[in-house]
C-alpha cells in the first residue's frame, strides 16, 4: 500500500522547497501561527522595481555565471589536451585539489595575493577566483574523453599533417561538443550557486543573488529572502521543465 504512493510522496518532497519559497515570495506577512502567508503582490513589484534589490543581483549573477562557465570550459578543454601525455594521474590529482577544497578556504588562502594584485573586491577578481575551480573541474570532466579512440583519431590527424591547434579545433572540439555543453551547464550552475568564495573575494561588494539571499535570511527578512531565492532557483527549474524526461540508463 505504502509502496504504491512512494513516487507521489517523493514528488511532494522534491517540490516542497519550491512550493514553500514561491508562497513566501508572494506574501506580505506570515503571522504565527497561520499556515499560509497573506498574499501581497505590491511587494513583488517593489522588489523588481528597486535597483538595489531583485533585478540587479539577478543580472550580476547571470553575467558572472555566463563568463565563468564559457571561460573555464574553454580553458579546461584546451588544457585537458595535456592528458594525451604520460602524467595522467598526476594531472588528475592536481586538479582534484582545488575542486575538493572548500571554495571559501581556497579563497582565504590566496586572498593575500589578490589584495596585492588589486583583484580583491572586484568583479574580475571573483571571475578569476571562480576560474580556479572551474578550469580543474572541466579538466576532470574531460579525463574520460581522452580515451583510446580519441588518441587514435589524434594520431591519424597528426599523420595527415594537422597541427596540434587544428587537431583540437577541427577534430576534437566537434567530437567533444556534447561534453563541452555539459561542462558549460554545470559550471554555469556552480557559479550561479556559489556563495563562500564570491563573498570572501568580493568582500560583499559584488552583490550576487546568493549573497543577497544570505543577507536577507540572516536579517530575518523572510519574504525578500524568498523572492531572491525564487530568482535563484527559477532558471534551473525552467530548464528541467523544458527537458521533461531524462534517460538515465542505456540498456
Amino acid at each position: 500500500m505504502m509502496r504504491k504512493y512512494t513516487p507521489w510522496m517523493l514528488m511532494l518532497f522534491f517540490l516542497a522547497p519550491i512550493l514553500l519559497i514561491t508562497l513566501l515570495a508572494f506574501s506580505g506577512s506570515w503571522v504565527y501561527p497561520s499556515i499560509l502567508p497573506s498574499f501581497d503582490s505590491d511587494r513583488w513589484m517593489e522588489f523588481l522595481g528597486s535597483s538595489s534589490l531583485g533585478i540587479k543581483p539577478f543580472l550580476i549573477s547571470t553575467v558572472l555565471a555566463v563568463l565563468v562557465s564559457l571561460l573555464s570550459a574553454s580553458i579546461g578543454f584546451f588544457t585537458s589536451y595535456l592528458l594525451t601525455g604520460k602524467a595522467r594521474n598526476w594531472l588528475l590529482w592536481l586538479c582534484l585539489i582545488p575542486f575538493c577544497t572548500a571554495p571559501v578556504i581556497l579563497a582565504a588562502n590566496f586572498q593575500y595575493f589578490f589584495i596585492l594584485l588589486h583583484l580583491s573586491a572586484s568583479t574580475v577578481g571573483v571571475i578569476i577566483a571562480q576560474l580556479f575551480i572551474g578550469v580543474p573541474y572541466t579538466f576532470l570532466l574531460f579525463s574520460t574523453y581522452w580515451n583510446e579512440e580519441q588518441l587514435t583519431m589524434d594520431t591519424a590527424a597528426k599523420t595527415l599533417g594537422a597541427t596540434p591547434f587544428t587537431r583540437l579545433l577541427r577534430v576534437h572540439f566537434p567530437a567533444a561538443k556534447s561534453l563541452f555543453t555539459i561542462a558549460v551547464i554545470q559550471l554555469f550552475l556552480f557559479s550561479w550557486f556559489e556563495y563562500g568564495m564570491t563573498q570572501y573575494i568580493g568582500v560583499g561588494q559584488l552583490k550576487t543573488l546568493t549573497v543577497e539571499v544570505f543577507k536577507y535570511t540572516q536579517e530575518g527578512n523572510t519574504t525578500v529572502a524568498a523572492l531572491a531565492s525564487l530568482l535563484l532557483i527559477l532558471p534551473p527549474f525552467i530548464a528541467i521543465l523544458v527537458i521533461r524526461k531524462v534517460r538515465i540508463a542505456h540498456a
Binding site: 519559497i21 588562502n109 579538466f139 583540437l168 540498456a251
Partner: protein
C-alpha cells in the same frame, strides 16, 4: 607550441592557486611570513595551539562526523527507496521532478530548512493547528541548535536526491531486476540479495562520487553559517572566523588549520585518483 601554452595555462589556473595559497598559509602558520608590523621568525607555537586547543580538534572531528553521517543517511534513504521505485519504473527515463532538487543551491536549501523547521516555521505552525503543541516555544529546536540537526538534515536533503538518481541509473544499467529475479529463484533471501547483489552494484560502483560528496560536505560553509550552533562549528567556519578575527594573534592559527585541512584534502584526493584510475584501467 600548443602543448606549451596548455602547460602554461594549467600551471596558471590549477597549480599556482592551490600551491601558492598553501605556501602562504604554511608561511604564516610557521611565522615565516610576518603579519602587520611583526617581523618574521620561525615558530611552532601556532601549530601547538591548534593541536592543544580542544575547540579546533573538536571542530575537525565534528566535521568528519557530520559529513560521514550525512552521506550515510542520504545513501541509506536512497537505497531504501530503490526497490519500490524500480518496481514502478518500466522504462529507462525518470520524470522531471526527480531533477528539481539538483537545481537547488545550498544557500536556498538552508533557507528552506530555516522556513520549515524554525520555531516559527511551517512544521511548527502545522503542529499547532493539529493541536500537537500549544505554541512555538514547545517546538523542538532544530535551527542553530548545538548538535547541528538542521545542518545535518539540509545536507541529507541535498545529497539524497542525487544519490537516488545515481543508484537508479546504476541499477537500470546493470539490469538489477533480472539479477534479483535470478538470485531469488535460486533461493536467496531479500537481505542476502541486498548485501550481495544490490550493494556491490549501486554502492561500490559509485564509491568515487560518494567520496567526492563526502569531501564537499567537509568544506560546508554557508549552511552551518545560517543554521549551525555557536558551540561546535565545522572546519571552514572556524578557519574563516580565526582569519577574519581582529586579533593578529589568532590569524596564524587560522592559517595553520587551513594548511592542515589542505594537506588532508590532498591526501584524500590522492586516494580518490587511485580509486578512479583503478576503475578506469579495469
Amino acid at each position: 607550441m600548443t602543448r606549451t601554452l596548455a602547460k602554461a595555462l594549467f600551471i596558471l589556473f590549477v597549480v599556482i592557486p592551490s600551491f601558492l595559497g598553501l605556501s602562504y598559509a604554511l608561511g604564516v602558520s610557521f611565522g615565516l611570513i610576518g603579519l602587520g608590523n611583526g617581523a618574521p621568525s620561525f615558530t611552532l607555537s601556532h601549530w601547538e595551539v591548534m593541536f592543544s586547543e580542544g575547540r579546533l580538534m573538536k571542530s575537525i572531528g565534528y566535521t568528519i562526523l557530520l559529513a560521514a553521517s550525512a552521506i550515510a543517511g542520504a545513501a541509506l534513504i536512497a537505497l531504501g527507496l530503490l526497490s519500490p521505485l524500480l518496481k514502478r519504473m518500466p522504462g529507462n527515463t525518470l520524470p522531471w521532478f526527480y531533477f528539481v532538487p539538483l537545481g537547488i543551491p545550498p544557500i536556498v536549501a538552508a533557507f528552506f530548512t530555516f522556513s520549515a523547521l524554525a520555531n516559527t516555521g511551517l512544521l511548527s505552525r502545522i503542529a499547532v493547528k493539529l493541536g500537537m503543541i500549544p505554541d512555538a516555544s514547545s517546538f523542538p529546536i532544530l535551527i542553530n541548535d548545538e548538535l547541528g540537526i538542521g545542518v545535518w538534515l539540509t545536507h541529507v536533503m541535498l545529497a539524497f536526491p542525487f544519490f537516488l538518481i545515481l543508484f537508479l541509473s546504476s541499477a537500470k544499467t546493470q539490469e538489477v531486476h533480472r539479477l534479483r529475479e535470478t538470485a531469488s529463484s535460486l533461493g536467496a533471501s531479500s537481505a542476502y540479495i541486498l548485501r550481495k547483489v544490490i550493494r556491490p552494484i549501486v554502492i561500490r560502483k559509485n564509491a568515487p562520487l560518494l567520496i567526492i560528496w563526502f569531501i564537499f560536505v567537509l568544506g560546508t560553509y554557508e549552511i552551518p553559517l545560517l543554521l549551525g550552533g555557536q558551540k561546535i562549528r565545522p572546519v571552514a567556519l572556524v578557519i574563516i572566523d580565526k582569519m577574519r578575527g581582529y586579533s593578529l594573534a589568532t590569524i596564524p592559527e587560522g592559517y595553520a588549520m587551513s594548511a592542515f585541512y589542505a594537506v588532508f584534502i590532498m591526501a584524500l584526493s590522492f586516494l580518490l585518483v587511485k580509486l578512479i584510475s583503478r576503475r578506469y584501467d579495469a
